[in-house]
Amino acid sequence: MNDRENAVSNLDLETPEKPYLDSNELIINMGPQHPATHGVLRVILKLDGEKVLGTECVIGYLHRGVEKIAENRTYTMFNPYVDRMDYVAAVSNGLGYCQAVEKLLNVEAPPRANYIRVILTELNRIASHQLWLGTHALDIGAMTPLFYTFRDREEILKIFEKYCGARLTTHAFRIGGCQYETYAGFEKDVKNFLTFVAPKIGEYEELLTTNRIWLERTKNVGVISGPDAIALGVTGPVLRASGVKWDIRKAQPYANYSQFDFEIPTGKNGDTYDRYLVRMEEMRQSLRIIEQAVNGIPEGPIMAKVPKVIKPAVGEIYHSIEAPKGELGYFIVSDGSTQPYRVRVRPPSFVNLQALDVMVRGMLVADVVAVIGTLDIVLGEVDR
């Protein structure tokens, strides 16, 4: 264990041809307890003055062995655990897991359940992006957006609380559909939220989009090209900001996303500023989806016919969804018993974090903070 505390990695880094003055290379630790690492992430930085020569991430501080837990729980019992991975987008995690098991069972949630799922998942996407924006801007030095976004995110959490009783780890869905029918006034609340939040997104943009300090701190910072992003397996807004127009909701639609009309925003430069713009636009597109869904929500059952004891046939399945952070996949192997033989979670944050090194080489220490923020990682999901 001590090896990990002291070893300064076997970073294989090139030395710059012309060192900055006569300074020696400096190796410092950022984190694990650092406000800008959004949890417990330790980054070992190799520096030449202020310039980053290389990094190594040390992760695992929040490892809870979710995949091992899954093997010792029934399919239904494991459902709430997935909320604890990406805890700012618990609804998305639950959707991915429930749909994966449904696929394994070869059942499909009824249309009404799908509409409720889409509404809640997209609300959660907005909440996740709002939290990202607030903390990311705070890291870079703009304090105001944090208060704006948290104020508005509260309205989403209120809807969650009214729907299922929980604000963060919602456990909103069940295998086969939804457990709860919408409460009286759900549709009105959602519509009110839409009219409430649409101008607020403009308000965030007013604070930042043309703000000179924001531009200086984000433009050409943490650039990653499209091919690099693909090779590194980066997904979600980070991939789209690098110009790759790919969103699982469009490419391989799940739930009933194919029924809704929305755009996939993309960036050009793959820098922090483009990722900011992509996420801002994604919030607006989510509002469009919610509006269509809430207006078209059909009557009908909310649960498919799923046996009380879930016992899928022997086999394996991979199912992934477009979580706010990227591709969230579940690979489930069933041995025909009530407990999954193996559950593998493909976490977007974990894979995206791997790109940190490529994105910060040659930049300044202060940019590392900006890049960690722009990757939008949640350590609960990185470590699982």
Partner: protein, 225 residues
Amino acid sequence: MAEETKSPVPPPPPDGEKKPVTESVAPPAQAAAPPAAQKMPTPAAAPPKPAAPAKPAGPVPVPWSSPMVEKYRHQYGSGLEAHSYLGQNYFTVDRLLIPDFLKLLRDDEQFDYCVDITSVHYPKREKQFDVIWILYSFARNERIRVKTQIADGEGVPSAVSIWATANWLEREVYDMFGIKFDGHPDLKRILLPDGWKGFPLRKDYGILQQDQEWVKINLGIESGQ
């Protein structure tokens, strides 16, 4: 009053002493249970027979054929099988084909995105591990899996030179299963501390094992778990 309050206290020990008696009574009951439990298997063993014909009603892997599959089947013969389960396609390939086949998939078939690398442990099998690559092609909008079986202690060629993302994914598989990826630039634990013993996602790694060991070594007592 104080004596009265005290007096109720002593009685519990007798209760506590009596409890072992009840406990000693209980074992016979438990001892009586096993015969029942032994009887149980016979009726329990009977139902699977009628259940067995019902099984084919569930989804089963069906052969997967496409121009791509035919091409590789021609090239590799029996080293490669292609199946489809619930609409998801996968190759089962011989371990020896691994680096080349993955490279072909990326270069010739445009599977340019390695979604995930993972493993499943089947301790009763001779070749204990399945290693699985989940691949996606942006150009074809197609997702496939490549599966291979390896024995315990056997290595797999690393895919880092094919997809850079394999770096951390392979480290996680190593961390959790102890599968070595030959040619990996920096194969070490990623989520668990470096000094960790054992590989948690193997089926023979009990969930209490670590706790009991830690308590014994660090506290010198038996774990209550």
